[in-house]
């Protein structure tokens, strides 16, 4: 009834090819952006911003990165955590060498190193597929973890083996380090995530994105139709790792403030992979839904007992949390194996047809 494109006529090619051709979608997105950019920083508490929104955005960006590779280009990767680590460590080295360069530039530049490493570890994808490729990306994970642990140069020979974020300013306002207030860090991350998601959305529906999807759906057919697998697969690895690298740099610089090798271990890779699978492979909206499901929901569940006034042991809450999240994952994947994004899409379809579900 409310969500229907009837009466919205397109009079030009550009209008027809717009990112969001339906007016209601544009209004919805505008509302989300206003909420995210204005209302949340205005009314959100410090805890909400720094422990819910900031991690959510960081994970969503990493999930976008992995989804590009796994969901759109069909290359299964278990090395996301390590690629995020490359971004974080290279940003740390860059800001050590160039302390006066704006940290935003360095964060964006650190993704380039991650992309290069991603391309190197993407080379085996030209010969192997599926689970076999997952094993080689697993090798990337272990090898890079070893580097973060063993190469003292990467963490400036810190005796604890950790990297610690120095304070950096943007227009005179601290955006990294302990003095940076959550509102500022949130807005910085939000801007980067919004811009990069927009970029991803446009790349994915363009020539490059289509070549990835062709490779995913049937690589031999794609090759016969003139797609070069070398270029398509490696560009997917580069693009995806770039996103992961930026997410990793943001995670350390604007969220946690320090990192050691365990921060980027295999569990971290799995966490992102779960987000992508729950959210929906091959969907950008799904990345955000998956990140919210895996990160935000547990935080909310944790706050339920105290909100209800039940005195419960923190560990018990944690166990309940694991049970609830586990059950929900199974439930959602049984109901819709293609993830939350597919559920959302079905919901939208139903709305468009309502109240005539037999219309098409």
């Amino acid at each position: 009834m409310f969500y229907r494109e009837a009466g919205q006529f397109k009079t030009s090619y550009s209008a027809d090819q717009a990112l969001l051709p339906i007016k209601q979608d544009r209004i919805g997105l505008a509302l989300i952006l206003v909420t995210a950019f204005v209302l949340i920083p205005m009314f959100g508490t410090s805890f909400f911003l720094s422990s819910i929104m900031i991690p959510f955005l960081v994970f969503a960006l990493a999930a976008v990165g992995l989804n590009i590779l796994t969901g759109f280009a069909g290359q299964l990767s278990l090395g996301t955590g390590a690629f995020m680590g490359v971004g974080a460590y290279s940003c740390y080295k860059l800001t050590t060498y160039f302390p006066d360069v704006n940290i935003i530039i360095l964060i964006m530049a650190s993704g380039i190193f991650s992309a290069l490493i991603g391309v190197v570890f993407g080379l085996p994808s030209l010969r192997i597929k599926g689970l076999y490729l997952a094993i080689t990306t697993l090798a990337a994970q272990f090898f890079l973890e070893w580097c973060f642990n063993r190469i003292g140069w990467l963490y400036n020979d810190n005796p604890s083996g950790a990297i610690e974020v120095p304070q950096r300013l943007l227009f005179g306002v601290p955006i990294t380090g302990p003095e940076a207030i959550p509102e500022v860090r949130y807005l910085v991350i939000l801007t980067i995530v919004a811009v990069m998601t927009l970029l991803a959305a446009n790349v994915l529906r363009g020539r490059i994105g289509r070549s990835w999807m062709m490779i995913r759906d049937m690589d031999i057919a794609a090759e016969l139709m003139g797609i070069r697998p070398l270029r398509a697969k490696l560009s997917a690895f580069a693009f995806s790792s770039y996103y992961c690298g930026v997410a990793g740099a943001l995670m350390v610089f604007c969220w946690i403030g320090s990192a050691e090798v365990e921060t980027f271990d295999i569990n971290h890779s799995f966490l992102i992979l779960f987000m992508v699978i729950i959210g929906g492979l091959g969907s950008l909206t799904g990345c955000f839904m998956g990140a919210a499901f895996i990160w935000v929901l547990p935080v909310l569940i944790r706050s339920v007992p105290s909100a209800l006034g039940i005195d419960m042991l923190a560990a018990t809450t944690e166990h309940i949390n694991n049970i609830v999240i586990g059950c929900l994952i199974i439930f959602f994947l049984i109901v819709e194996p293609h993830g939350l994004a597919r559920l959302w899409q079905i919901g939208k379809e139903k709305l468009r047809n309502w109240p005539y579900p037999y219309a098409n």
Partner: protein, 473 residues
């Protein structure tokens, strides 16, 4: 005695007590309270950023009510290290609950202990910090090197001190560079020097080969710079055997190397499942267990109970007493455990190594509250007061006896520049069923370690020009 009087409910009595505090009780460096306070204020005024924050703090709402103080407990009862985290969290909570039951809190103010589950995960730990800091948290004991490193820079901004008791950043012992971080009673580096001293007094260390087996993460690597520098000074050789986090339970490769290298002594920096696996491997490789010394995280009941008799003779460092025969532990049994208010699985778990260490963590914090109350004259103190309390802590044997902890640990006496106290440890030995204290307190080689600590502290701060520091002299 100060303790019982401070705990009195009568506020007049407390005031009298305040006015009489002087040299014998707290005046380690200053002659009286006023001078101490003025010095504190002066040192704060030297640092513009701090002064600004003090101004802000005046406007910040005091989150806790007057009659309670809030003490967060970062625990990990879930995850791979839950076996070690659970007894620690029990001891921590039980001691504060005992004070609430027995004395009605500290200085008449009840302590509310709230646990937040970190699962030994840095991200969750930071989340716990963000969730609890605005509730009027007095101090954090993060219980993980990763979380400690993340909280150290935040502590000065939010004005909540961090007490990483014998873990975290060794350099934080330097109070001038790290005004908000405390590592009582000692650091990893001091511990290592004490262990080496023990080896030296048992047949000499010169010309010997020391094997160092460690968990290959930040925690395990922490003492390596000290070990390297002491090996030159004391004339011994070091062979290092890193154990990756994923191979904790299967160390056959490392122990094959141990057999090849034939070290005279072995020292271990292990945690969790790594410890029992290492002791088992040592037995399998016929390495003499009385020449195998674990650090204080590699010598708990959890580690050795599963091995039992096989592990007989294994040594480990410790800084807290073992067993239930201490007055404070008896009080916990009487006021908390027997009333069913403890989370321990059975009363037998009270008094084991990690339980007592968790309790001692609470003892140090409780003592800091007592000191802070005495110095500020407030009953419900803030994080900034807590910092002053921690800095002026004086747990000598007389005070420990008054707390029911005679011979529990060495003296812990802090001051502005020294945030680790005196820092002695002792060695304990596994007799097949239980841990037995084996040596007297072994003092660290302060003259060697201290300059290295100061160097490391200066290096930590060198790339952070805005890091809050203080001047002590």
């Amino acid at each position: 005695m100060l303790g019982p009087r401070l705990r009195g409910d009568d506020s007049n009595e407390r005031k009298i007590c305040l006015n009489t505090i002087n040299v014998p009780v707290y005046g380690t460096r200053c002659s009286n309270l006023e001078e101490q306070m003025s010095k504190t204020i002066l040192s704060k005024a030297l640092i513009p950023s701090l002064a600004a924050v003090v101004g802000l703090a005046a406007f910040a709402p005091i989150a806790q009510a007057e009659d309670t103080m809030y003490m967060p407990s970062m625990s990990y009862r879930t995850g791979p290290f839950a076996g070690g985290g659970t007894p620690f969290a029990d001891g921590y909570a039980d001691y504060f609950n005992m004070l609430n039951e027995r004395d009605g809190g500290i200085g008449g103010v009840k302590i509310i202990v709230e646990e937040c589950e970190t699962g030994y995960n840095t991200q969750k730990g930071v989340e716990c910090y963000e969730a609890t800091k605005d509730k009027g948290a007095l101090a954090y004991s993060p219980l993980s090197t990763g979380i400690t490193l993340a909280l150290i820079p935040k502590s000065s901004v939010d004005e909540i001190p961090v007490l990483s008791m014998g873990y975290g950043l060794s350099a934080a012992a330097q109070g001038e560079q790290f005004p908000w971080t405390f590592v009582y009673p000692t650091t990893y580096w001091n511990q290592m020097s004490s262990i080496l001293k023990y080896i030296d007094s048992n047949g000499g260390i010169k010309g010997k080969k020391i094997g160092f087996i460690y968990l290959d993460v930040g925690y395990g690597k922490e003492p390596i710079p000290l070990l390297d520098s002491l090996s030159e000074k004391m004339g011994f050789e070091v062979a290092k055997f890193p154990v990756g986090g994923k191979e904790m339970q299967n160390q056959s490769a490392q122990w094959l190397n141990v057999r090849k290298e034939r070290p005279d002594w072995m020292i271990m920096w292990g945690w969790g499942a790594m410890n029992p696996a290492a002791v088992k491997e040592a037995v399998r490789n016929r390495y003499p267990l009385d020449r195998f010394i674990g650090n204080w995280w590699a010598g708990s009941h959890n580690d050795l109970k599963a091995i039992g008799k096989t592990g007989k003779g294994y040594l480990a460092a410790n800084f807290t007493g073992i067993g239930q025969e201490f007055g404070a532990v008896q009080d916990i049994l009487k006021h908390v455990v027997e009333k069913g208010n403890s989370k321990v699985a059975s009363a037998d778990d009270v008094g084991n190594v990690l339980y007592n260490r968790g309790m001692f963590n609470a003892v140090v914090l409780a003592e800091a509250i007592t000191v802070a109350q005495a110095m500020t004259g407030k009953t419900a103190i803030t994080g900034a007061d807590m910092r002053v309390g921690l800095e002026n802590i004086k747990l000598d044997q007389a005070r420990l006896k008054a707390l029911g902890l005679e011979n529990f640990t060495g003296d812990v006496i802090g001051d502005c520049a020294d945030h680790e106290g005196a820092g002695s440890i002792f060695l304990q030995q596994w007799n097949g069923e239980d841990w037995e204290r084996m040596t007297d307190l072994i003092e660290p080689m302060n003259d060697t370690v201290r300059p290295l600590l100061e160097e490391a502290a200066a290096e930590y701060v060198s790339d952070k020009p805005d890091f809050t520091s203080q001047r002590c002299r």
